[in-house]
Symmetry: D3
Subunit: 140 residues, 6 copies
């Protein structure tokens, strides 16, 4: 695999897609802040194109759609990642994101607790453990 | 297993828990309408106590909590069940529930589409297939 | 793929492994009865070697081990398949198996109900739906 | 939700992305044939934009990449969908796709059998059931 | 989220439910010993009500039911958590619990090995890694 | 559980199965190299029979079959373990194995990226994190 030099995030990688990329990068920054950019940067050495797809499809296409507000989108994502139980690092990023777009800590805890009903108590307990970590970081 | 005569849903099965049961039954009816009652009734022959737990814990305890509005709770549940991919009958009930508590069809589609990002395109495609079924039933 | 003629189940396919195969076939019949043999027969056209592995490894090796009684093994399998939620046909076979080796209907219902705690209410509800089907078949 | 008139698949929905869309549609036809187009068409009433994303991201972006041949991509997808156990309709489409791009029936059976090791015998048995269905359709 | 002062575990949080809570707390101590109480205590800062639900529903309701002995319940839980593969911390607690209620180490290993058949070798290998850790702790 | 003295790997544990065991051990060494042997050795204290099954069934039976080349088998396994998201230690072993049997680093990255489509972006991101670790080890 070529050890590609890390392009700066605000360089559009393909002229034809530059609008999706710019829109996605702006949305990523709005939602995930630094945590999102760190995920993208961490891909530069191993899968730089995947960093581009991550900006373009989830953020440039999906999160940018007008049909559902960001608060509702993050409620959906926190619920899904908690229930799946296979995505602790991503749950951490999206707990920060949920707080960023106006979900309160109390609401985050309610969402995770509700997952005990649908995915079992272990899924909720593990989700609460990630939330404790995020709340600790967010308050410093 | 005793083939227990089906008790009417509004009979409180244990004096001590009657408050949780009544609160849960009212909440179940508010959220899931007839679909929820059908799930509960269908348990009467095989696991009547499980029908009681279903009313008491998810509905009497969790859904009755003040910290998160019902609309947000149903967004969370639709997202989680779509992402898990193992709960089509329950997703169907909760798509009806989501529409009941004010989530629009367009928003339902957005929530399911977003799951393509977190649980893959098959999860979203299968979720949309359930939504098409529910939308067809709801409009008749 | 060659459309192999279906060998009778009691023909040992490889001389060297005949002991494991015979032991596994006897164990399969003890536990799963006809349902198990139907699974094996159904593989004859598409994957006859997989039918052999299914007899040799799960039944000839694992189920034949002395360290855990069959009743406990079937309790474990019913619990796991209910919790996984992706194996309804196999759960059906193993609910018959559990009844065959002495787990009562009431205990089967208890095991499935307990999965609500660990894998969520949908997993338990879907497990109970399979149990209702099996109980109906078993009582005729 | 607006009941959008189904646009013909070869109409580019957004001028800016037309190159990805055309590339994706050609790739979808090459890999999945009619089965893929049926999936896309079926989304026209409920989520027409999702049909577009399905063509653009998986097929226009991922499948069109030069770094891995189509045969290897379909081996990977058949393995993953079999192991996940939550995507039977998509496994069916991709078993057709695997045969289309040169994976033999014997190899398909080997891939699915191998999943018994990594995801358990039920996952492999359920995958073989889908394969039997696909082989029956393909030979008519 | 209010940083609630941690109530002592033996304080009944709601008069109406005190019987379920007391029964559940006694059952938790019988089964999980200190490990269970640590889980409950760890929730006091972030989700004190969830600690209460955990005592009331799984332990006060489910584990307290007469229809299945504790040994069988823990066999079911160890099997399910091993097969799910998303609940290592809870598997650890329940391996201790299984030993507490009379499942032997040899039987624990048999249960986990059996999961290789139903959930794949990785699930069993990861379960055995947790068991090794628990056996090490239990013997000191 | 008896603390069995670790038998050397090349000792055939059962005369009747010695051919499968020898074939499996040779295949394990061809595919997984030292990493595979470490997995097997680590089982010696807790589940020595499971080490034997691991050599006999996956390697002596499945990997030794002529119907699919080793490169394709490892593509299938890397895809499945990435998609499942519950088997990071095993994914690590099989990323080494994939490189051993001729899958290039670029191809490994393509396989993992493709899983974003079928199992979601978190599954692919977590797979890439394991790949980065393996590529770092392999290049020293």
């Amino acid at each position: 695999m070529p050890n590609a030099p890390t392009a700066p995030l605000n360089a559009a990688p393909q002229a034809i897609d530059s609008e999706r990329y710019r829109r996605g990068l702006a949305k990523l920054r709005e939602i995930d802040g630094e945590a999102g950019e760190r995920v993208v940067s961490s891909l530069a050495d191993i899968a730089p194109d995947f960093a581009r797809y991550l900006i373009e499809f989830p953020f440039g296409d999906i999160y940018s759609r007008p049909g559902l507000d960001l608060r509702s989108r993050e409620i959906a994502v926190v619920a899904a990642l908690t229930a799946m139980g296979t995505a602790a690092p991503q749950l951490k990023v999206h707990l920060h994101a949920a707080l960023n777009v106006g979900v309160t800590r109390e609401e985050v805890v309610e969402i995770i607790m509700q997952m005990a009903v649908y995915a079992g108590f272990p899924a909720a307990l593990n989700g609460l453990a990630v939330a404790r970590e995020v709340f600790g970081e967010a308050s410093t």
